[in-house]
Symmetry: C2
Subunit: 266 residues, 2 copies
């Protein structure tokens, strides 16, 4: 029995998100499990680091699974890519330490939200960018983003239910806002993100950028935890999970077990 | 009666190409004509500079049309974008000189062909990039491309029928080959291109790049005009019409008639 670490990329447009839901197979997890189960001849479970929502994409999602096979990691990767639809790709498959778990070991994540506020839509990016009808003031958004960075209770900036008992405290390391090719791109790097948190933080920043919301409102959301005081939930198609971070010791162990395969470039 | 110059961008995936075909409306020209005709209350014709094939995209196609209306060019643009599907966008609409004709006045065109030979598919680019299963030797391709540049009879590098009576002599100004973001991109700049010419030139260069064809074969195709001696026709989805060139005097006249609108950035 070995533990395998998968890096995968997907266009989430057609899917109901990462996580398997009952009998439906229109999730990324279900697609991957189906193919691995067929390869092995028995059911196998796959754990993803981030449970991306319906319509959200991933440039690099990490997943882990435990099973026994005579196939090499490269053969497993090729088998998956042969049978996966063309909007899901396994970028790498490597042997990990026995106790590696993609979600439990993840120590951080990076998400990118792409907005086109230029007035000129880009047809080639339409599935991955949210079009906003007004130009956004990125300097104002940067000042607001600085107030979100750090360790806070992000309950009000999430869609978790009121009865959610676990901690809603998270740490955002950085929010970088940059204009690239006519798009305003917001990159969030943090320890973890609550349900809809990146989309609500982005919606709040967008309202600030278009001038219909004050910077002070951010403090009020932190203090009250009231979702109603935060901005809109931005649509899913502008969001992409860019990377999942692990401790360097975890990555070093994977590297040591897979001397001939390199982690794909980010 | 005024002549209008349109710049448009489209994802050609869903279409049977630019040119209207009988009763089908699944062409870009038909979509645009339909909407302008509805706006004006009578049938109107639109002339595109390049007749892109089924599945081929355009970042900047130029089109012209003559009609009378009280609407401003900006209002025409907004009307079109309101009713066009989200894979076709009018980037600009401007008043042109009375005798402006997008196809007849075009003096050059630029096409880009994108190939991913890295072994790792990019799911976000899959509709716009041709995946090639072997790494290509770009230096060898550059040497071959140099033999294609210049004024030649490109009949053998096209799908024109044997009975095609017009001249098949064209001038290619440059073929630039560069690696960008894991893709090999070939940019063709020339006076004009015959039916399938860019896709067959690319197919020939790809066979040279994978080592299954000699550079000498290019001269043989020019000398015999025999399509059978050239390479494969590459699939349409990797091809994009990037720009249409006009004489600076033509553009200066359009600029003078539209002091308040700028040509969209390339």
């Amino acid at each position: 029995m070995k533990t395998y670490c998968f890096t995968l990329s997907y266009d989430g447009s057609r899917y109901r998100g990462w996580q398997r839901q009952g009998n439906t197979d229109s999730t990324i997890q279900a697609k991957l499990e189906q193919i691995l189960s067929r390869m092995l001849g028995h059911r196998v479970e796959v754990h993803g680091a981030g449970r991306t929502d319906a319509g959200v994409h991933a440039a690099r999602q990490t997943a882990s699974s435990r099973f026994e096979t005579d196939l090499t990691p490269e053969e497993i990767q090729h088998y998956c890519n042969r049978y996966l639809p063309d909007d899901i790709v396994v970028l790498s498959c490597r042997v990990a330490g026995d106790r590696f778990h993609a979600r439990l070991n993840a120590k951080g994540k990076q998400y990118r939200y792409c907005i086109n506020d230029s007035g000129t839509p880009n047809v080639f990016r339409r599935r991955y960018v949210c079009v906003w009808p007004q130009p956004l003031d990125e300097e104002r958004m940067r000042r607001a983003a600085a107030l979100m960075v750090g360790t806070h209770d992000f309950r009000g900036f999430s869609s978790v239910s009121r009865r959610f008992k676990k901690s809603t405290v998270r740490t955002i390391h950085s929010i970088d806002i940059a204009r690239t090719d006519g798009e305003l791109q917001l990159v969030f790097h943090g320890t973890g993100f609550l349900y809809n948190m990146v989309r609500i933080l982005t919606g709040t920043l967008v309202e600030i950028g278009q001038g219909t919301r004050d910077l002070d409102s951010i403090r009020a959301v932190f203090e009250t935890g009231d979702r109603q005081l935060a901005g809109i939930t931005m649509p899913p198609h502008g969001l992409i999970l860019e990377n999942v971070d692990y401790d360097s010791s975890v990555m070093a162990e994977i590297d040591a077990r897979n001397p001939h395969t390199q982690e794909p470039a980010q």
